[in-house]
Symmetry: C2
Subunit: 414 residues, 2 copies
């Protein structure tokens, strides 16, 4: 596809320049981007209004319209985020390990950018600026393909960032927004092996599936979270109620929200009625197994429910015989995101930490903490649910690769 | 494919047990495997003979037959390699970083196995034992799919290793050898997303291409090396001759051998005749650009030649105008493996290290050093030529992922 090849080649070319940029230069560009976003807020809002009108006319749901909407306050927040990225330390050039080998070679494992990063995401224009800031700081060129509902907003944001790069003397193709939001172009982007070093999809289960099916470039899967809270036989019931309520209801549309509750049979009769009462405060629908149905009134759960990331005021529920069944159930049904046990039993806490296969495994805390800021990374480009390259919240380091730089004096291999 | 699903499910099951094995237990198994390989050498040699006879009858070339052949000495070498892996330190369980967050949560980033690793490789039975040893030590289950010419040898090696695991009380499905070497099964293995966490192909350009085309599981590309030696305008000519000769001829069939020579125009007339004389010692065919052809007698190079990993006594050659053209030519034609500059110019050495896009970039040394042992990793499962997850020689650490273990006291998100 010629359109994408041109974008890919331009990104690759820019990536070589970016990899050698000084930290000062990158920060100068980030600060100018932040300034210009605020100065040109009217232009962004104008384009965003067109997106909102088109989306509204197309019958897009109100919670999605809310994610799409930009106003002065939100733009100020986006600009602030870009400034914060400027304040983070630059990962590029760090010598991770250097060793003088017996033959005199100095082998220095050095942190370098990945190169060209493609990001496919939903109609959330804030991601456009966040992702561009993080990729720029980590010395990567980025190709941004956002949801079609946000296309005008994304182009406006892209234009402002590209102008700012240009006036700093940086190749503006460091940041490119794809203006063709067709599915074909999206699929072709997933297969642009000549130019794209890594593809990061940010979105729902459908997007992730499509990427796994179609991608030929290396991918970091992110974001789907079928997260469990397991309430163990020996535990602080009040703590369990607080954690369940927080993980399920504090924000339902996010990937680290709880979608499933497992309860040890010994505490099920005590815990489930209290849990129901607590979840009733937010009208959470419980879909329970047969034993759950005997203890509380609830919707019967299907096997499908246990695999579902509801992102809504719904939770699946199952009474289990103990830690073994809990761990096996989680490993069978989860998406490798965040899992929590509430327990006072030491051996069970250790077993859960060790055997549950997920990016983040909690003892006695809400799954809602899986997040770059909460983990102290400073910012994040997404939460990896795969095991290769990066797992869990991905900060600047996760947008880098390594290069072995070897300093010789004429050594040859014997 | 039912056959592979069964293997995948068994591997996944074994992987959970493996991830929790103590270092002592893993080392005990490795030492027993090493012992049994030596004790049962006759059985291995017998099966290997059948492979050799079949391959020979099928007209397989002698250098490939040599790679396939096992005798007592080679088996002793393989066993020694397994023992050496037992002596390496265990990466699993290392706490890479732990931080007490302001809310009291202790977030510990911990090294864990990847899970199930699939390896597709050529008819080199030594890889069967090497790969199994490294994956076992790093707590991973492995599915081994070797070249069909080595199938009997691989099954024999697999049987011995599985027996040893069993007698140590470890799930023998930690190591599985695929006995169906059809292309369909190989493709299905590349798409076994339910069970395979990472696929590592080890082989030539054809295998790597097939994997990039067909794989749906995460892949670490390895091994193709179109490596360059760039002889800069200011340099020690004798050093350049030694490095070129070593990189091209010390072993031609390996991925870190040089395949292309770039020469600065200022030294071309001096260097090329000397280089030809040196390479003539091993009857190396030079395929040169037009300028090269004016200076020495050689075969004219095609554009295709500059993209080719010959793995033979052939080298492409181009005279370039300077460091800029050298770097651009390399980044256009290389496979991201190993690249070397021979120079006494400081600025050029730095530019080369910074701008050449490859796993290993050398100043004044032979590319032949790109190797796990030479870099001090102790052992390697392959050399990654991609940027994600691992780049360059991959040791035990590169066979791991991370898990965030979070220790709470009832924290919920505000």
């Amino acid at each position: 596809m010629e359109y994408l090849n041109k974008i890919g080649a331009a990104a690759k070319k820019a990536s070589y320049e970016l990899s050698a940029l000084s930290t000062d230069k990158k920060n100068e560009a980030l600060r100018l981007i932040a300034e210009e976003l605020i100065k040109q807020a009217d232009y962004i809002i104008e384009e965003n209004k067109k997106d909102l009108e088109a989306a509204s006319a197309a019958g897009v749901k109100s919670n999605m319209l809310d994610r799409l909407m930009l106003d002065e306050k939100r733009i100020a927040g986006i600009a602030e985020g870009v400034k914060q990225v400027a304040a983070l330390s630059d990962p590029i050039g760090e010598v991770i390990h250097a060793e003088k080998r017996p033959n005199g070679l100095l082998v220095a494992k050095t942190r370098v950018p990945l190169g060209v990063i493609a990001i496919i995401y939903e109609a959330r224009p804030n991601v456009t600026a966040d992702a561009a800031a993080l990729t720029l700081k980590s010395g990567n060129a980025v190709i941004l393909r956002g949801g079609k509902e946000a296309i005008r907003s994304n182009i406006a944001l892209g234009n402002i960032m590209r102008q700012a790069l240009k006036s700093c003397g940086i190749d503006e193709n460091a940041v490119q927004v794809i203006d063709d939001t067709s599915r074909e172009t999206s699929t072709a982007l997933m297969q642009l092996t000549d130019y794209v070093d890594v593809l990061i999809p940010r979105g729902g289960a459908g997007l992730i599936r499509s990427v796994v099916e179609n991608a030929k470039v290396p991918v970091i899967e992110t974001g789907t979270g079928n997260c469990h809270i397991y309430v163990d036989g020996e535990c602080d019931i009040d703590m369990a109620l607080d954690i369940l309520y927080n993980a399920k209801t504090q924000r339902t549309s996010v990937c680290n929200a709880a979608e499933s509750l497992l309860v040890h049979k010994d505490v099920a009769e005590l815990f489930l009625p209290l849990a129901q009462k607590r979840l009733d405060e937010k009208n959470v629908e419980i879909r329970g197994c047969e034993i759950t149905q005997k203890i509380i009134e609830c919707t019967p759960a299907t096997e499908e429910d246990y695999y579902t990331e509801f992102l809504d005021y719904i939770i699946s529920c199952k009474v289990v015989s103990g830690i073994e069944e809990a761990v096996a159930h989680i490993n069978e049904h989860n998406t490798g995101h965040s899992e929590a046990i509430v327990t006072n039993n030491y051996a069970n806490s250790q077993k859960f930490l060790r055997e549950v296969d997920a990016a983040a495994v909690y003892v006695n805390a809400s799954t809602r903490f899986t997040d770059g800021f909460e983990f102290g990374l400073g910012a994040e480009i997404g939460i990896s649910t795969q095991k290769m390259h990066a797992r869990g919240p991905m900060g600047l380091n996760e947008l880098t690769s390594v290069k072995f730089c070897i300093y010789g004096e004429g050594q040859i291999r014997k």
